[in-house]
Amino acid sequence: MRKGNLSRAMMALSLVIGVLLLAPLASSLPTGIGGSSIQTAGCNCHNSVADSSVAANIEGFPEEYNASETYELTISFDGGPSQPGNINLGGFNLWASEGVFTPTDGLTSLWAGSVNEVVHTEAGNDYTSWVVDWTAPESGKEVDFILHVNSVNGDGLQTGQLDQWNRGTFTIQSSFGLVGEVIPEAPEPFVVLATLILISLALIAVTILYGFYRSDPDGFSWDTFSPWISDWLTTTDHKKIGTLYFLAGLFFLGIGGIMALFIRVQLATPGNDFLTQDQYNQFFTLHGTTMIFLAAMPLINGFANWMVPLQIGAPDLAMPRLNAMSFWLQPVGALLIFTGVFSGQGADTGWTGYAPYVVDMVNGHDGNTFWAAGQIMLVASSTLTGINFLTTIAVMRAEGMGWMQMPLFTWSILIANLMLFLSIPAFGVGLIQVYLDRVIGTAFYDVGAGGDPLLWSHLFWYFGHPEVYVVIVPAFGVISEVLATSSRRSIFGYKSMVFALAGIGVVAFIVYGHHMFTSGMSPVLRFVTMVTTMLVAVPTGIKIFNWLKTMHGGSLVYRTHTLWALGFLVTFTLGGISGMFFPSIAMDTHLHESYFVVAHFHYVLVGGTVFGFFAAIYYWYPKMTGRMMDERLGTLHFLTAFISYNGVFWPMHRLGVWGMARRHHTYFISTDDFANLPPEAADWNLFISVSAFLFFLSNFIMVANMVISYLRGAKAPADPWGGWSFEWMTASPPPTPSFGRYVDGEWYDLPVLRDANEHVTTEPGMFTRWFSRLMVPDDSNEEVSH
């Protein structure tokens, strides 16, 4: 007991120390030193000593300076070993906190190109006074000057007297006092971001520790903690890996959200300067990369890991160790991608990483190399995941479960992984080419050597377009499950749903040209991709129709996950409709790279994927943790998030039609200039930014809900919602292995399809009367899907 207390105290102490160490670490980034060391460390002119006999003087200061006025300053010194007639006499360094120096003759020059620091030149070494022009800043209250002078014994050391130096500081007030715009000292945005990332990591560590502590307060010691944590770190169980994926996905969703908030702060007012252009480029690049690859994909993989083996009645994935490997490649890849944040030289090419900028060694940041390296690791991870899921779904289905008996979520994961698997090698190869271009100097995308930047676009979008379907198709699967269960009937038109999924999977590969309509590709190809892109609406429309018909034929129960599924239907349909503007080439040329595009893909990616996976969280949380989630908090989350979400992205359509350009650092408004946005744009942007903060905060209701429910929620039964796929047949949370026993290399007691059918007739049997009373007779398509 005493040992336990001691180690508990030690752990708490080390945690506090760790957090304290990490927080300032994040804020002490190198932000450039320039010539500032001279102000703090003294003169670095000669190996000399400071002496009060040397007096530094500046003449020509005004009583108060006027904005942008130029003054002639005369710098001089007296005393020291400097004697008239010596070869060299002295030198100086003058630094001003603001304003611009202009050397007037050859005796002075700017120090290392910084306009606020001026030094003597070699020719100026023969003087004891120098003249330089100083232009006052436009704003500010006062300006500090720090002058270092160096009195040189330039007689060839005949007297043996050392050089001496001294410092003088001067301050002048501005004539306009505080009237001018006073810019408060703003922290470096990257520092803020890095600090936030580290603080969230620390908070997660604390939460994990606290959760572990709560599970057994008395037995809490390192001896019990280390096997527990190492079990999580080395697990090959699909459920635990699924949880890890899920937590990682939520974490990066938060990080990506923080970046989005930075972008929104920058765009809140026209002509804003919160982020520099350079920082803005990095923020939207990392936002896109994080959200697609580090948030959406792990969230999908988390649920796929959890549910696919359960839904097909398999004991685990086909290759559990590969599964662990594909998870662990992700955090390391994320670390590489984020290296830029911690060095201030992040990738700045957009998530598409367009060549030739991505291989530009001069203007592009070093972070692009890291970005490519990290992405290569994510590609490797996705490939391994693809192998695993395709194999698992193909070979490990339960006895009697044919292709056409698989639950739709499993189908969607199968199709998504097939698409991902066939497309991501192209991206991987493109990334390797970029990486080699940047590292060893190959010339795949070097325009000067005949390289073709469009090749990158082709390789990228050959992957990139299936990729956006990869993140939306699993959400289709979730919605199919949720709506069918909530409507208390089987999904309407199961077969057509499967063929629609497969159709999306096929069409995905022949539409990517619509991302390149403005790249100058051949009109014939443009026409072909226009037609095929419009074709995408057909299978998607079939799915939406089937969902509506499922609800129409069933009797809907408004659980939280049902609300999210309904929200998904609204937002995804709106996103799909705005998507139909882009295949038409003329429309696309106008809307290309505008906020209309941003609105469209956020409507399908946030309103589609993220809403779908919020529904999945509320739907499967009881199965995953064995605890019910709080319905009231869930409804509150839905209402706030749904409203603020639409507040963020709906006005963007309008901004896009006005011509507000995507990926631009800022925008300007005017009433008469055609090139600028109308004045209302500023109001809408402010509205969007405020809504973005609300949307970001509202999602913490869900996080809080998850934590509270995990600790205090009611115990969940095996089948809380009345679903009848396999995952509802095992306990909540499921045992390990989820189904069956493993004896002498053979699996016993795996479920067979008959079990699910029995389940339908027994468990939801209490709904049978409801069905007969409430269901609209549906004689056309009575599919028994499970």
Binding site: V332, D366, F370, A373, T391, V395, W403, L422, I440
Partner: protein, 327 residues
């Protein structure tokens, strides 16, 4: 069980970190030690991975339960799925090659008819102003039998190694021979495969970097075959001179910027070489396991899976060879 995986991943970071140190296109040697650390950690990870396989006797080979693949080994299906993605990797590399091969004019043609790209070379050919054009490596390699020799030998080496790996599998599965004979035969054939793979990479190095010398043997004339790099065929070659690119009027050498062509050649064949190298690492372990008598008729699966991979690598070479070496 899978602590190795935890290590295995840190590896990757280490390796990439190292490479990133070289952001300049100059080899500095900086961070070399970190690469060694990364390689050591990778090896530990792989060792942990394989330590469990060493005692594997085939008893627990998981079989499929789903309908179309029932009772097929799961890992075999996984291997085929993996090869599907490998296929896409090489397809992408070939797309790149096709795009540049068909999109840029061949240096031969450009120098022959004197028509220059009006965009990149508006003034036509001038001395010391390189022309941007496509120079396939085959122009050098297929210029003489001796230049082609390493590639040709490699082709046969790979095809033979595909045969020997099948022989290894056949002997491992043979039930009518005693254990000692099986052990020796399997080890021999796996070892032969290993030797052939090493031969492949060695000849590749000779062809890329070293070159070779044939003395005058009476029936063979003296030849000195320079390596591709020595001939100036490198990814940095922006003033490349082929021996036949001489302006007949002035006698001056015509130079070409062939960085793109060299990049496609080295990266595509290099990716294939990396696959062979990966196979060698696997083969080293498998030969060791065979030498310990680890492969029995019930446990020949890993030879079979490796054979699938090896056939694929062989097949890729059969396509790479004509595209990059002959035409």
């Amino acid at each position: 069980m899978s602590i190795g995986i935890g290590l295995f991943l840190f590896v990757f970071a280490g390796m990439f970190d190292y490479d990133l140190e070289l952001s300049e296109h100059v080899y500095t040697g900086e961070g070399l030690i970190w690469m060694f650390v990364a390689i050591i950690i990778t090896s530990i990870g792989m060792f942990v991975f394989w330590r469990q396989d060493l005692s594997f006797d085939g008893t627990y080979e998981p079989l499929a339960t789903g309908s179309p693949f029932r009772n097929i080994q799961i890992r075999k299906v996984g291997m085929f799925v993996f090869l599907m993605s490998e296929m896409m990797v090489f397809t992408s590399l070939f797309s790149t090659y096709m795009r540049y091969r068909l999109g840029l004019r061949r240096c031969d043609d450009v120098f022959a008819d004197g028509l220059f790209d009006p965009v990149t070379n508006p003034t036509g050919w001038q001395e010391a102003v390189p022309v941007t054009c496509f120079e396939p490596a085959s122009h050098l390699i297929a210029s003489s039998w001796w230049h082609l020799a390493p590639g040709a030998v490699n082709t046969f080496a790979l095809i033979i190694s595909s045969f020997t790996i099948v022989q290894a599998l056949r002997y491992a599965k043979k039930t009518d021979i005693d254990e000692e004979l099986r052990r020796r035969r399997v080890t021999m054939f796996l070892g032969t495969t290993w030797v052939l793979a090493i031969l492949f990479l060695t000849l590749k190095m000779v062809e890329w970097f070293v070159g070779f010398y044939i003395p005058d043997l009476g029936f063979i004339h003296e030849h000195e075959i320079k390596s591709l790099v020595a001939e100036g065929y490198t990814i940095g070659a922006d003033h490349y001179q082929h021996h036949s690119y001489v302006d007949e009027a002035t006698g001056a050498h015509m130079t070409a910027n062939i960085r793109v062509s060299a990049s496609t050649f080295y990266v595509t064949t290099g990716t294939h070489g990396a696959h062979v190298a990966g196979g060698i690492i696997g083969l080293t372990y498998m030969t060791y396991k065979a030498w310990r008598g680890g492969y029995t008729p019930t446990n020949a699966v890993s030879i079979e899976y490796f054979g699938l991979y090896w056939h694929f690598v062989d097949l890729v070479w059969v396509i790479v060879f004509p595209f990059f070496y002959l035409y």
